[in-house]
């Protein structure tokens, strides 16, 4: 059986070597297709990974809010589940805003391997400075935990997150707001909460401008101090979660939400619009790539088709000798596969070269020299190989079938 395949491949390779130019054209077709697929997909996948990383890292992977997507069932309904009782007009119990039982939630989160939950309290205060008012959304955090959950520590122009713990009444605000209020590092500013409490805060850090996710009207304080300023002791209303695997965010968020019923928003949900954009981008890429591979398979089709047409005499001779129709079909399929394989190997080298060229290019954005994000994972090579091989099988099998229709009698009689 192996001897048979080796023999058939021997015949196929002879056919290809005799028709050098056609072989070269077909191989280059596949090689160019595979090479450019690799270059394009390395860029697309690379930039996508880059983009998604920015999206993921901009904020905690999951944020649990003190909101409910649907109101909780009232005690009366809970007592008679599925009962033929409809309760109307009952007095809805007013609940204090904030996440109840949050230490239990944080413990659940911390029990997930590699996950950290950072509780925080946000609320509105007004900063007052020499007759000027600026609304500020304060976020009370625990600096040691928060640095592990979000990237705000990297976004500071001046100061450190840990300074919040050193300085009584320390606050970190956006540099633009600081400018508007005429404040600098170490300056003291008065803050009034909605409840009327007033306190002096000292600027211990400034957030760089241009950070979309943080906003210029937010400020960071120590959780404990925010709770007392907002007059909501022991209360938190947000839990930021950092996961070891950001791609499990959707599932973890769903689990938390079913268990605790507080709204848990994953980065997937937060960035649904961006992710939708990526789907479109991928659809475009794979359409272009399929077109390239289709063109490449035309080369194989033509080569095998011509080979069958040229070798009608050889087909008749081999058949008279005792080769079967299946043998000859296999010879021509092998020709197509050999073309595809060679094309893939050359295409891999071409793609590797193109990636290196693209990866070495510099281009300036915002004054900084940047490089193209290139994804060099082997997966792309495998996808390119698998799809060209599939295209090659179809493109060679279609004309190879025609070899079975060659009637040796017609050829032998015609030549004799």
């Amino acid at each position: 059986m192996n001897g048979r395949l080796a023999l058939l491949f021997h015949i196929a390779s002879k056919h290809l070597l005799v028709r050098r130019r056609q072989t070269l054209v077909a191989v280059s077709g596949v090689a160019v297709g595979v090479g450019f697929f690799l270059a394009v997909s390395a860029l697309m996948v690379g930039s996508q990974a880059d983009f998604v990383k920015t999206l993921i890292d901009a904020a905690p992977h999951i944020i649990v809010y003190d909101e409910l997507r649907s109101p909780p069932p009232q005690p009366g309904v809970r007592s008679f589940p599925g009962g033929a009782v409809a309760l109307r007009g009952y007095k809805v119990r007013n609940e204090v805003r904030g996440i109840r039982d949050w230490p239990a939630i944080v413990r659940t989160i911390d029990a997930i391997p590699g996950a950290i939950g950072s509780p925080s309290l946000s609320g509105a205060v007004t900063l007052r400075m020499g007759g000027r008012d600026e609304p500020l959304g304060v976020i009370g955090i625990d600096p040691t935990i928060e640095t592990r959950v979000s990237t705000i520590a990297d976004k500071l122009r001046k100061g450190h997150l840990s300074d919040l713990e050193q300085v009584q009444g320390g606050v970190i605000i956006g540099e633009e707001m600081a400018m508007r209020l005429g404040l600098g590092m170490g300056d003291v500013v008065g803050a009034t909460s909605a409840g009327g409490a007033t306190r002096s805060l000292r600027i211990v850090g400034l957030v760089k401008k241009g950070q979309i996710q943080l906003g210029q009207t937010s400020g960071y304080m120590l959780l404990r101090e925010a709770q007392s300023l907002l007059n909501r002791p022991y209360i938190i209303n947000r839990i930021g979660i950092h996961l070891a695997d950001p791609y499990s965010a959707e599932e973890v968020a769903h689990r938390l939400e079913t268990r605790y019923s507080y709204k848990a928003e994953s980065w997937h949900e937060r960035s649904a619009d961006f992710l939708g954009l990526l789907v479109t981008r991928n659809a475009i890429m794979y359409t272009v790539v399929s077109a390239i591979l289709l063109v490449a398979s035309f080369g194989i089709y033509t080569a095998v088709s011509n080979s069958v047409a040229d070798k009608r005499r050889d087909i008749a001779i081999l058949r008279s000798m005792g080769f079967s129709q299946g043998d000859l079909q296999l010879v021509f399929v092998m020709e197509g596969l050999a073309l595809a394989f060679t094309g893939i190997l050359v295409g891999w080298m071409l793609g590797f070269l193109l990636m290196n060229i693209l990866g070495s290019l510099d281009f300036p954005i915002g004054g900084e020299n940047q490089k193209f994000p290139i994804d060099r994972s082997f997966r792309q090579y495998l996808i390119a190989a698998a799809s060209s091989l599939l295209a090659g099988v179809v493109a060679s099998w279609l004309p190879a079938r025609k070899s079975a229709r060659v009637d040796p009698v017609d050829i032998l009689r015609g030549a004799a």
Partner: protein, 229 residues
């Protein structure tokens, strides 16, 4: 001498409009150790009959038996297998594959049969070429050989799997008289000394005269079967 291949009322009609009868109810017995010649005017259906006997074409009527076994209903693959094992063909044109040298051409059927490994196949092919007086031409490609040499390579290839039946369609048609005589001697030797069945379509009455059996055809029918001594 024993019957190896038997045709009973064998017919081949081309399904064109109007239908063309190539072979018309042919009855024929081919015997081992016997050199059979088929003669007749051009277009009488000699080649057509030979293709039917050699399982290259399928009959539209009648039966064909190899050692008493019915062949008419076999699948394409089974017929290919029988051609490979039991039949050797020699045509008017040498029909060597141009991409392969003489040795590789002879090795093709041996390797396809797969009873010998590659080295064994090569040894056998060399021996066959040696028997044909072509021991020193084994590595030559067909276009570097003379017409007579090519035809002898083709005969070596026909004998590659040691077939019981050798079929020739005007195998000497393109050869000069010396080469022609050599091929005829070889065919008679294959029949008489090695006990094979040799069937040869020919225009050459000198060949027909030396055959053991002379089959005459006219308009697709076998009109005469004469045993000669």
């Amino acid at each position: 001498m024993s019957a190896i291949l038997t045709a009973e009322q064998l017919s081949r009609v081309l399904p064109v409009d109007p239908p063309v009868t190539l072979v018309d109810n042919a009855d024929l017995t081919i015997e081992t150790g016997c050199f059979t010649a088929i003669v007749g005017p051009s277009g009488c259906g000699k080649s057509s009959l030979l293709y039917l006997l050699g399982l290259i074409d399928r009959p539209t009527g009648g039966r064909l038996l190899l050692e008493g076994e019915e062949l008419t209903s076999l699948s394409g693959d089974e017929r290919a297998r029988i051609r490979l094992e039991h039949f050797g063909f020699v045509f008017q044109f040498h029909f060597l594959l141009p991409e392969f040298n003489a040795l590789e051409n002879v090795m093709l059927p041996i390797r396809r049969l797969g009873r010998l490994d590659k080295a064994g196949a090569e040894a056998r092919a060399r021996q066959l070429l040696g028997n044909m007086g072509l021991g020193d031409k084994a590595e030559k490609s067909p276009d570097k050989l003379s017409g007579g040499e090519r035809q002898r390579v083709a005969i070596a290839r026909a004998l590659a799997n040691d077939p019981q039946i050798i079929l020739g369609d005007e195998p000497t048609g393109n050869l000069d008289s010396a080469n022609s005589a050599r091929v005829v001697d070889l065919f008679r030797q294959l029949a008489h000394e090695q006990g094979r069945a040799v069937v040869c379509v020919t225009h050459d009455l000198a060949i027909a005269d030396v055959a053991d059996v002379r089959v005459t055809m006219l308009d697709g029918r076998i009109t005469d079967v004469r045993h000669q001594t």
